[in-house]
Symmetry: C2
Subunit: 145 residues, 2 copies
Amino acid sequence: VILKHVAGLKFNVKLGEERKIELDSAKEMGHAFSPMELFLIALAGCTAMDVQWIMDRQRQKVDRLEISALGTRRDEDPAYYKIVELEYTLAGPNIRMGAVERAIRLSKDKYCSVIAMLKGDVKIDIKYRILDGAGAGQFHTLAKA
Amino acid sequence: VILKHVAGLKFNVKLGEERKIELDSAKEMGHAFSPMELFLIALAGCTAMDVQWIMDRQRQKVDRLEISALGTRRDEDPAYYKIVELEYTLAGPNIRMGAVERAIRLSKDKYCSVIAMLKGDVKIDIKYRILDGAGAGQFHTLAKA
């Protein structure tokens, strides 16, 4: 990827003709994202694709998958995320809790390239819930391996 | 951030009304980015903003700043970047090499939150060049601290 400076702390990335992202570090972001927002999106995206794929391989029909990612930064520089809270919401008629735990754990421990690059003091806190049409499911904490 | 599944391995992120990113893992990406592309963009973006800001504080006028980021993935799972090559290109009438080295090093070692989250076996390889209007400058490898 090639990042080009626009003005102030605003940068653009273009990949090919169709793909563009604006980056900025400002109060008024317009269409832009901050680098740390993009990092969270990358992390949520990689585990989302893993979980979608593994659930499929486990023949679990997932009608809806959402992942919420919240990062809490350190107070001092470098102000990286000391904790990232991931909340997975899966909806489908017949989703097994064990299959969800397995999919999330395989992503976290084996497949997710973004998570695999993080050092130990970036804590990943994982919760998930299963909605089966019978109303809001409760969040469960991912059990220890 | 909240990531929502669209179809296949395609996901959407919306932040507010104006900010949207599509993620996918496909041969035909359309407007979408892969998680690992977004990670590289996040990394390049964070160090770009640091360098821009530090050069400004050093009263070095930078007319143009570009960063190229190339990641090489491992062959096995998790297929994270074993090496990220960053190439900084700075153009301006009177840019000092020492000021550039200092800005890049401060970003890498002190300010860049994305780099600070990476574990040791993700190697960051840094080169930079300074263009002063007299033609293409050569790339220099960032000197050891």
